[in-house]
């Protein structure tokens, strides 16, 4: 995975009737290989918009993403689970795997994400929290170069969220994935990220970047709380 550069000088949504919504204006983020970056910004500021551009799903913007996302192997957790309702949980995951790996055993993965007993069920039979886990498994199962997460750990109780974070981080470490995560949970961001990128309200741009140097195992609850208090005091989240 090479260095990833996202440079959006402007992104405006335009309706056929001419009215426009300016979502991004001059946002630039560079990710080192294997880096874990959290995007944090107010509701509706343009985070999902930025991720869609990064994924190559939206090409109607000014700026560039290098390398072209079409050349990267990407895993994505959308803000909603986006499962195929007419395929079982297991099929939903296997369909996203390259054909030659489709038959791989996945028992461990299902167990780690608490989905063992749901493999054969349809998404409509899952609670929202369970559906999110499926979408997480789908994102990491191929060990992608780039992992993009749009609020992946909501609708989960604290314990489940902690377990899933751990499972995801294990996969990230194993495959040395570069990660971009959007979250509204500052504690979560401080626990996981190498760098926090704070975004302005719409039209969004970067207002501050905070590097977190501590190694992940050293980040206990107290440390996290301290960092959080410090950031709050500095008003970075405002």
């Amino acid at each position: 995975m090479p260095r990833l550069e996202i440079d959006i000088s402007a992104k405006t949504y335009r309706r056929p009737d001419g009215t426009a919504v300016e979502a991004v204006r001059g946002l630039r983020v560079v990710l080192a290989p294997g880096e874990f970056v959290c995007l944090i910004g107010p509701s509706g500021c343009g985070k999902t918009t930025t991720l869609r551009i990064l994924l190559g799903l939206d090409r109607a913007y000014e700026g560039r993403v290098v390398p072209d996302p079409a050349t990267l192997r990407i895993g994505m957790v959308f803000q909603e689970p986006r499962l195929l309702p007419w395929r079982s949980v297991e099929e939903n995951i296997r369909l996203c795997m390259p054909r030659q790996h489709r038959a791989r055993p996945l028992d461990e993965l299902f167990a780690a994400f608490g989905l063992a007993e749901w493999r054969g069920r349809y998404p409509g039979e899952l609670s929202l929290g369970l559906a999110r886990r499926v979408s997480l498994v789908r994102a990491i199962v191929n060990g992608p170069d780039l992992l993009v997460l749009d609020e992946p750990f909501v609708s989960l109780d604290d314990r489940a969220a902690a377990e899933l974070r751990q499972a995801v981080m294990a996969a990230v470490a194993r495959h040395r994935m570069t990660v971009v995560m959007v979250t509204h949970n500052l504690r979560e961001a401080i626990e996981l990220a190498d760098r926090l990128v704070f975004l302005a309200p719409r039209p969004t741009r970067v207002i501050e970047e905070v590097a977190l140097a501590a190694a992940r195992p050293e980040r206990g609850p107290a440390w996290i709380e301290a960092q959080r208090a410090m950031l709050a005091a500095r008003g970075a989240t405002a």
Partner: protein
């Protein structure tokens, strides 16, 4: 258990419903007491005689062959074009007028032109029917292709679904209701046009038989042939289409 029970109940209701239809027909025939509405018994008698000594089975076979060929061609071609037009607004703007012209071309005109151009043969007959049905499939499937879920589309793009995987697992299930509608109304349309085409220039088939008996004003025979072929179509519906549909809809029931 529960499922088997539901199935047999359903079969019973269906049989009862058909029976009720027969009873209604019989009642109407008795009330009308007219040669223009023979009773079910008279029609059944005709059918038995025609099956034993006449050409009933040969005619049904000929028609069925044409129906199947035209149906398969029309569904395949129509689905491909419909999805293409539904997904590409530019192609749609360019070809929409052609589509509308073909859709609204009278069946008679299309059939006659086919016979004139391709000769009085089987190929012309099947082509004429397919040409009549294709625009119909196209307009239905085009609506389906226009209302695909963009969220799933994005998911499939991010995970680089191959065209085959996409078509089978993302596209087809979303088109399923439209395919079902097109297949069902299409089968009926195809067989109606086959009748017309047979009437204009084929030496056998249900349409030919109906037109011959119609010239003699033998309503019993006309109804007999109509009923015989309707029975075939009902069998196709209940033995092929509905099981296929039930499979495609399993996920809805599981989650209900």
């Amino acid at each position: 258990m529960a499922q088997g029970h539901g199935r047999s109940l359903e079969a019973a209701m269906r049989a009862g419903s058909l029976l009720a239809l027969l009873v209604l027909w019989q009642a109407a025939a008795v009330l009308a007491a007219s040669r223009a509405l023979p009773s079910p018994a008279a029609v059944a008698q005709f059918l038995a005689a025609e099956a034993l000594h006449g050409d009933l089975l040969a005619n049904i076979g000929a028609t069925l062959r044409r129906v199947v060929m035209a149906f398969v061609v029309a569904m395949a071609v129509g689905t491909a074009i419909g999805v293409g037009l539904g997904r590409s607004p530019a192609a749609n703007t360019a070809f929409d007028p052609w589509l509308m012209a073909l859709l609204n071309a009278p069946a008679l005109v299309v059939a006659v032109l086919c016979y004139i151009w391709l000769g009085l043969g089987e190929a012309a007959a099947v082509t004429a029917v397919a040409l009549n049905k294709i625009p119909n499939v196209v307009v239905i499937l085009r609506e389906g292709a226009r209302s695909l879920d963009p969220g799933l589309e994005e998911m499939a793009r991010v995970y680089r679904f191959s065209p085959a995987t996409w078509a089978r697992h993302v596209l087809a299930p979303q088109l399923a209701p439209f395919l079902a509608a097109a297949a069902r109304s299409g089968l009926a349309l195809v067989w109606k046009i086959v009748l017309l085409v047979e009437l204009l220039g084929r030496p056998d088939g249900v349409g030919y038989a109906i037109s011959v008996y119609f010239q003699l004003f033998d309503v019993t025979a006309v109804l007999g042939y109509a009923v015989a072929f309707m029975a075939v179509m009902l069998a196709v519906e209940f033995l092929v289409l509905q099981p296929l549909e039930a499979r495609a809809r399993r996920w809805r029931l599981a989650a209900a």
